[in-house]
């Protein structure tokens, strides 16, 4: 399979710089640490926020960080797409007989980004027994679903981001609210930010669909069973993202810029 072959190529390439690889991995691990420190300091002072305890917030933080780092590692091509346009690599992609999305996906896989993942796993290992959840098979299933849904939403955001690159490079900074902001603020269950932000993150950018709602179900704070399945709806965010991407490609081939 082409994707696996690309993955191997990237791995092989990055292993050429072993020291640098290790340094960046550690750097990524420690960089994410300040986000954890923030939660630690604030939760030590206030103990609960909107009814969530410290381990419960940590569980949410771990889910978001885990899915973000997975998405960032494997969808790095979209995340750094402005570079792919700028250096002409996208022209090359267009003269190859595969779909452009698939090729961009294969174009860049950065395993150093997994440094964050390591931290997410450690936090999760702490949070799982302390969150007060009785872990039955269905709860574990939903936790996995949350992570996968998170990967889907974040990767869709990266695709959206890449699609916007076709129209404006300058305006891109705004997308950081949803990607980096989604990671930073998504450390807390979205309801913390109030009703309107929750609505926005439910109907516009579906960040809440893979953390807040299923989390409520995990923590037995709701009896609405369908909350457990909202990550699936969140994954549908790929559709509008792909639409923007298509429009972008269309614009690119008609303006050549």
């Amino acid at each position: 399979m082409l994707y696996l072959k690309s993955l191997l190529i990237h791995l092989k390439g990055q292993m050429q710089y072993k020291m640098s690889f290790v340094f960046l991995l550690i750097g990524q691990f420690l960089t994410a640490f300040s986000a954890f420190l923030t939660i630690y300091v604030l939760m030590q002072r206030f103990h609960t926020v909107k009814g969530f305890t410290y381990p419960q917030v940590l569980l949410c933080f771990a889910v978001v960080l885990l899915s973000f780092s997975l998405a960032e590692c494997f969808f790095r091509g979209f995340d750094t797409f402005s570079g792919i346009i700028a250096n002409g690599q996208f022209d090359r992609i267009l003269v190859r007989p595969r779909s452009a999305v698939y090729q961009v996906l294969c174009a860049k896989i950065e395993l150093t980004r997994l440094g964050r993942l390591l931290q997410a796993v450690l936090v999760m290992v702490y949070a799982i027994p302390h969150s007060g959840v009785i872990w039955t098979a269905d709860k574990i299933g939903v936790l996995v679903l949350m992570i996968l849904g998170g990967v889907a939403v974040f990767s869709a955001l990266f695709v959206l981001y890449a699609g916007i690159c076709f129209f404006t490079i300058e305006g891109l900074e705004f997308m950081n609210i949803f990607t980096d902001g989604g990671r930073e603020f998504g450390s807390y269950p979205i309801s913390v930010f109030g009703e309107s932000v929750l609505k926005f993150c439910t109907y516009v950018i579906p960040l809440a669909l893979f953390q807040y709602y299923p989390l409520l179900w995990l923590l037995d704070m709701t009896d609405k069973v369908f909350y457990a399945f909202t990550p699936l709806i969140g994954a549908l965010f790929w559709l509008p993202a792909l639409l923007v991407w298509r429009l972008g490609v269309k614009n690119y081939v008609s303006t050549g810029s």
Binding site: M19, S20, F23, L24, I26, G27, L30, T31, F33, S34, A35, L37, T38, V41, L42, Q44, R45, F46, H47, T48, V49, K50, T168, E170, G171, L172, E173, F174, N176, I177, G181, F185, Y188, V192, F193, G194, V197
Partner: protein, 267 residues
């Protein structure tokens, strides 16, 4: 001096050209600031008695930080400076009859100021228009007003002096990126970029307030709202002067050594 003025002008005009970028930047700043306000509101509702500052002081801190982000955050590095070190082009700079430390220092200050001029006005305006207690309030009296400006410029000096140390450190390490990223994210946390220092555990807060990290955004953002006032404010400002002299003086000496080393080793 004239050269620096025209450098500033070019940067400023360049910034104006990218109107969408400026607009997007302002919108991002606003959204980010708004989310912070909402987050602290939630914590305030959780336990108001555990708040070490008043809620208004926290929102003021928050909006001013968003408005003066480009002045006060360490991670605004100058790409040109970094490239000239990593590519070795810095060797040519030594030939010129200017003080390289002073030149880079001014350049970084100019870069930060020119970016801030464009972005701070809309953010401040928006924050002033928000209803109390979510928006930006007026400064805490004449002391807060003057204290804010004095400590803001001292903080800018401290931030740039600190960043200069990072640039110089890149001369000595084979792998500067990893170290730099790490230092930047740590400094962001320790200087109060993520949570104001009063929210930290008391001992850590005390230590940080005496350290160079406390001489950065901690000072102006708290002086404005009166979270720091009277003797505490002015001893803080004195500490800022102290750290500025130590970091800039030390940096200049260190840079001299770095450049001599560069000359000996031939880059």
């Amino acid at each position: 001096m004239k050269a620096y003025m025209s450098f500033f002008r070019i940067r400023f005009l360049g910034g104006l050209q990218y109107r969408i970028a400026a607009l997007a930047g302002v919108a991002t700043q606003l959204a980010w600031g708004g989310l912070y306000v909402l987050l602290y509101k939630a914590f305030y509702e959780a336990d108001a008695s555990a708040f070490p500052m008043t809620f208004r002081q926290v929102t003021d801190y928050n909006w001013l930080r968003q408005a003066f982000l480009t002045l006060l955050f360490v991670w605004m590095l100058d790409r040109e400076t970094l490239e000239s070190i990593s590519s070795g082009a810095v060797a040519y700079e030594v030939v010129r009859p200017t003080d390289l430390y002073l030149m880079w220092f001014t350049k970084n200050v100019a870069m930060r100021l020119s970016r801030a001029v464009l972005r701070c006005v809309p953010v401040l305006l928006f924050a002033f228009l928000l209803p109390a207690p979510y928006g930006l309030s007026l400064p805490a009296g004449i002391e807060g007003f003057i204290g804010f400006f004095v400590t803001l410029f001292l903080a800018l000096g401290n931030v740039v002096a600190f960043v200069m140390l990072l640039y110089i450190a890149s001369f000595f390490t084979m792998n500067p990126t990893g170290l730099r990223v790490l230092m930047l994210s740590l400094t962001e946390f320790l200087s109060g970029g993520l949570i104001p220092l009063p929210f930290m555990p008391p001992l850590l807060q005390k230590i940080l307030e005496f350290s160079p990290f406390g001489a950065m955004m901690n000072m102006p953002l708290r002086a404005y709202s009166g979270s720091l006032s009277g003797p505490a404010l002015w001893t803080g400002a004195a500490l800022q002067v102290f750290w500025l002299i130590v970091m800039a003086g030390g940096g200049r000496l260190w840079m001299g050594r770095a450049l001599r080393r560069l000359q000996v080793q031939g880059g």
